[in-house]
Amino acid sequence: MIKEAENKINNSTLDIAAVREKLSKSQGKAYWLGLEELSNTSEFQEFLNEEFPRQSVAYENSVDRRDFLKLLGASLALAGLTSCVRPVRPSEKIVPYVKAPEEMVPGRPLFFASAINQGGYAMGVIAESHQGRPTRVEGNPDHPASLGAMDVTTSASVLGLYDPDRSQTIVGGADFAAFATALQGAAGGSGFAILTETVTSPTLARQLAQVFEAYPQTRWYQYDQLHNDNTLEGSRLAFGEPVTTRYDFNQADVIISLGADFLGEGPARIRYTKDFSRRRKVLSAENTMSRLYVMESTPTITGAMADHRVTIRPSQIVAVAGYLAGELGVAGAEGALPENVNAELVEALLADLQAANGRSIVIPGDGEAPYVHALAHAMNSALGSVGTTVFYHENVEAQPVNHTEQIRALTAAISAGEVTSLLVLGANPLYTAPIDLNFAEAYSGITTFHVGQYFDETAARSTWHVPQTHYLETWSDARAFDGTVTIMQPLISPFYNGKSDHEILAALLGDAEATSFQIVQDTYTANVQGDFDDFWRQSVFAGVIAGTQAPLTEVTLASLPETPTLSSGEYEIQFKLDPSILDGRYANNGWLQEVPKPLTKIVWDNVAFIAPATAETLGVSNHDIVTLTVGENSVNAPVWIMPGQAANTVTVHLGFGRGENAGHTANGVGFNANVIRTSDTPWQTVGGVTRAAGRHKIVTTQIHWRYDSPSGENDTWADYKDSTTQRRHIIRHGTLAELQAEPEYPKFVHPVAEEASDLYPDFAYTSYKWGMVVDMTVCTGCNACVVACQSENNIPVVGKKQVAVGREMHWIRIDTYYGGDLDNPEFYMQPVACMHCEKAPCEPVCPVGATVHDNEGLNVMVYNRCVGTRYCSNNCPYKVRRYNFLQYAELTSTATELSLMQNPDVTVRSRGVMEKCSYCTQRIQQGYIRAENQGRKIADGEVVTACQSACPAEAIIFGDMNTEGSAISSHKGSVLNYALLGELNTVPRSTYLARLRNPNPGLVTGTEVQS
């Protein structure tokens, strides 16, 4: 692989023309064509035990043209196994450097600190580079927003770098010089405006300042769908100034979330997950954990983690918040508890809050009304948690503004003729702007300069379009949620001669030749004491500039305004960013499209969540189509019945329905929820829901979610089927109280007596003994591990149709089960990858010994020996093996520049070969060789698997079980430790810590937890 890599990088002339030509031929039949053969008439009551047969489709060719190109656009691969396809390998060339780069050792990756800029906020990353090819990013441990962890979008960003769908040519004029002159011309005249996304970058701010100096009449607007306007407005309401609130979940004993998905949304989500999980880490009865109450209308991963989850409609949050605030003695706050909220629970909640004396957090959701935020601030200060768990600091944005107001103003200005030419940096307003503003029409009327990574909706309607650089391609800087500045360094020169925002503004200022490097440096040369080179080297190396964290500020509560009356109607519609592709900026990323969404396991689609009860009244079931109407706008959406969804509340996710503008992966996927999203009610509104004709096959990677039977009995087949999961003791869960009751041998961890007995003597694992523990108590099911694994192990994307027939390739999956009451269920998340059983059932059945054990206990899969009988998969109780039914990975013969992204240390698998989690054996081997060359043993924590490094909850622990006092041994020693399907005597090396909840003792009757 490495030599392959060398060849590629050194004589890789990127044949853009060829790729374009390939892509142009890509119109194919719709994905799910033929899937409707499946008659899926089950009613909503059985929806959970309904198992949609994963129908295979009689398709003409393996991966049809469109799919192929989707995959091409999504994930391509070097053929590691060419010699399996072609027995005789052709003679290869070795192409060395002419001048070898500094500090580069061929075959050794280099690591660079940088940051991904998401909605203006920085997420620190360490990017891995092989011979100059960025192959992977991981979190930067020194960065406050990441602490070394990742989420799906961060891991997948490297795929975005190589995406051949990225815009590659300047449109509107001959070259960049022409663009520059045109831009300067426009700015010189009157009515010039700049539209950016959220700006925290000091350099960009500096340049903008320069622009306003040079062109005083220039206006600046910001619009970014990721921007949390309500939080901003809330803080204005509460304190009169747009301060930023920072929470410390590590210190909190009681957490009340008012519709806040703080584990899954916002620039601090990874940091908050870390803090939250560390507070809830339990290995023995000595440990304690915080208690989380969540009030939300649609299940989120935060809600799934809740100890008490309350399902309420969006419009009721205000009332509930008001009631709570009133009870907590916030002046002027009042509200009546809705009847569908369990009063007893709220009382207990209040008691808890009081008891926590300051070690509590009340956190409102970004989508909630500003008034709710104001109440939350008031409550936090009333509870005295400010300074303990809640902190305020100045807003770190260059200009904190309400973006919805901004786009409204911009539209008005354009129609008023005040703005005649517009420079758009990165944003895609024609897709994301609220529909009622009719921004598109206004936009097309004027001279527009668009800078973006894709030739998207906005680009298509612009006078000029210039390709924008990917964050791995340019120098830049950005602030983290807490203000810490990161200098972002490039790993590779721009693929498609894109331009960075800095270069664009420089060009605007008349210096079309300026490099981002120079521009970014200039920002700091001025105000750095001491040796600049030292400062620069340290800052760039560390990935953070020391001491740039925003200082805390004192805030004084203003008196509460009038309680707003939120319009409520029969049906409320709630808008959410998609958990994977956010507002659509990552829509063309195959990894993010194929990663199963948390809780639902849906791939390649967005849907309308409705509650079971609502589905009954509407008479619809999964895959049916409903029409959502807001005002005069309406959209058709496929139904997904979501347990725990508030009644008469529909939740839709943004970012889909990109038509033909987003690239070959995203085109035609899902529906566009923006068309019913208006500027005055951007996040939740009132609308109509009616059943529409037709069906749309939604594909999920899991078809049975039921944990237990609703009726509790199992004398009928349906109930029996429901409750089988429970009787299999797959998920073992209990409460902290139960653990403390029997700290030695908790019954819920060992529901059946297990005694290990075997006819065979055990193998001794003397050198290393690798093992893994997954802590289900802290796992949020955020999918970070899934995508991290995909990127590390060259796992292909297979497309919706292949997933539909049960051929997804992810090596690690997150099993999700719903238990208890359908209207407000408990959620159980269980990441499952190869267990590396010591008595692996897969091994003895392989006729060629392609899967065997090595002396360190790894269940190794030898791809090049595998003939593909698939017997191992049949015999694997955990069904973690993945099979290349078709040539998913790309062969060298047809490889494009996307192949450069592959990890050269992992073989790429060819058709007809089985694959599975390898415990990242390549990392173990590298660690081993490194250690041996230095004549020592591998240290604890030196070898980290991809999933482990990504996990923001630190739920995955990996290491050598023979090392005394290693993290893994302490976890294996925990009383909560259990083996999945251990009674099969497979002796898995991966085990689980039972799922612990910490419900309010006052609310627990028997084992029944009220919600």
């Binding site: 899991q702 049960g806 003895p844 059945v845």
Partner: protein
């Protein structure tokens, strides 16, 4: 020829039940058996041309499907996760099962001195070999990288690797290849004297050459016969345990695994019974038209059909017992996985139909065979045999697909839905089978004439009921029911 002298104490047995009609002579046997083979191509009956054309089309479909498989991959078929084994293995087991009756008739019945085997063993053995050919191709086709299937054989290689002998799949490799080669040997050895006959009867020099080479210069010398009969007996003695071991091994593909519904000790015996069951069904499907079209009624008598039907009934009941035990053990074990598996088989929304359909085909449909009238009615026998063949295919469908769909972790449950190619490969293999069959009945003597002559000899000297008589006496002495 001399008229039969029959022992006085033998009860008279009605004529239809004779293993060979009265009045047959050495020569007449020869003529009946050899005539269809010796016909000049122009004289070949029309039904033969029709038959082989249809079968040939099936063969073409088979080849097309194989090409599709090799070019596109397993992905073109219905297999998926968790149902990693689909039609390939179903058909493999189905064909292997069919093969078994042939060996059983020729080997086991020879050892048990059943004279009625003689006239049908040749055809049955041919059926065995063709079925094994169809079966043997499936495991090779169903692997992901067919071009390296030889890695399953122990051969000198540059990797320094061996097959993994713990795997039942490698047991299959040995079992199937041994079974195929031994069956062919057994069959060929049996054919040698008849080749000699054809050589000596040949009117065209070409046929004389053709059969002259095939018979290896057989001259019927007594020393040759002496060694021949001993070798033939030993081959039979080898084939009988072999045939039992082969299907037991197939059963162990499932029984040694961990999958609930596969991991049953009942599997080997009930697979063997099922194999014989399906095998005799296929024998009847083939023999009934054959004896009619070639006018072999006099040597392939009702007696043969009747006995085959009886065996079908007996083995069928064993299979039904197997189903019962599966259900009982699942319930009795108290293991949730097993229980759920069996309940899903019986009541699962997707596949209950298959279970009840196979219960009908293999359990209910054979009950009429208790009545002699049905057993002696070729039409009914033919229909029932067809139903049984379908039922046995369904049984494998339930065992392979329905079981795999629902194993340990509900999160990984899946579905299975075969594509066009699954079916085309299946029906194609039937085409392959019948192509070979039609070539066989045209080119080779479909009845072992030299062995028939032995029968004629015994018939002429002791009466055709000689053996029954002998056993009847023996039974009387032991006080057993006759």
């Amino acid at each position: 020829m001399a008229t039969a002298r029959r022992p006085q104490d033998v009860p008279k047995i009605d004529e239809t039940n004779r293993v060979i009609a009265r009045g047959e002579t050495y020569a007449s046997i020869d003529d009946v058996v050899s005539q269809p083979v010796e016909e000049t191509p122009f004289k070949t009956p029309r039904w033969w041309f029709v038959g082989i054309t249809i079968a040939g089309l099936g063969l073409v479909m088979y080849l097309v499907s194989v090409i599709k498989l090799l070019t596109t991959g397993i992905g073109a078929f219905g297999n998926n996760q968790p149902t990693a084994w689909g039609f390939f293995i179903i058909n493999f087991v189905w064909w292997i099962g069919i093969g078994h009756a042939g060996t059983l008739i020729s080997a086991a019945l020879l050892l048990f001195r059943q004279p009625w085997r003689t006239s049908i063993n040749r055809a049955a053995e041919a059926m065995t070999i063709f079925a094994v050919v169809c079966a043997g191709l499936y495991p090779i086709l169903h692997i992901g990288r067919q071009w390296v299937f030889y890695w399953l054989f122990p051969y000198p290689n540059t990797f320094g690797l061996w097959p993994q002998f713990r795997s039942p799949l490698d047991w299959d490799v040995f079992a199937i290849s041994t079974y195929a080669s031994v069956s062919i040997l057994f069959w060929y050895i049996g054919l040698i004297p008849d080749f000699a006959t054809l050589r000596d009867r040949a009117r065209h020099s070409f046929m004389r050459w053709f059969y002259g080479i095939l018979c290896l210069g057989w001259n019927g010398s007594t020393k040759a016969w002496q060694r021949y009969m001993r070798a033939y007996l030993i081959l039979a003695a080898c084939s009988f345990p072999l045939v039992l071991s082969v299907h037991s091994t197939i059963a162990m593909d499932f029984a040694t695994s961990q999958v609930p519904g596969w991991n049953n000790t009942i599997m080997p015996p009930y697979f063997v019974a099922g194999a014989v069951f399906a095998g005799f069904a296929m024998v009847l499907i083939l023999i009934i038209p054959l004896r009619k079209s070639f006018g072999l009624e006099k040597i392939v008598t009702m007696r043969h059909l009747d006995n085959s039907a009886k065996l079908m009934l007996a083995t069928g009941m064993v299979v039904v017992y197997g189903y019962f035990v599966e259900v009982f053990m699942a319930w009795y074990s108290g293991v949730e996985f097993e229980r759920y598996m069996i309940f899903n088989r019986m009541f699962g929304e997707q596949d209950a139909w298959a279970f009840w359909a196979l219960i009908f085909c293999n359990g209910i449909a054979i009950q009429p065979l208790w009545s002699k009238r049905v057993r002696q009615n070729t039409t009914w026998l033919f229909i029932i045999s067809i139903i049984v063949s379908i039922g046995m295919w369904l049984e494998r469908y339930v065992i392979v697909v329905v079981t795999l769909k629902r194993d340990f972790l509900p999160s990984s449950w899946g579905g299975f839905n075969p594509t066009f190619w699954d079916f085309s490969l299946y029906f194609g293999s039937i085409g392959l089978f019948f192509t070979l069959w039609f070539l066989f009945v045209r080119l080779l003597p479909s009845v072992a004439s030299s062995e028939m002559k032995e029968l004629v000899y015994h018939d002429s000297h002791h009466g055709s009921d000689y053996f029954e008589a002998a056993r009847a006496e023996e039974f009387k002495e032991k006080g057993l029911p006759v």
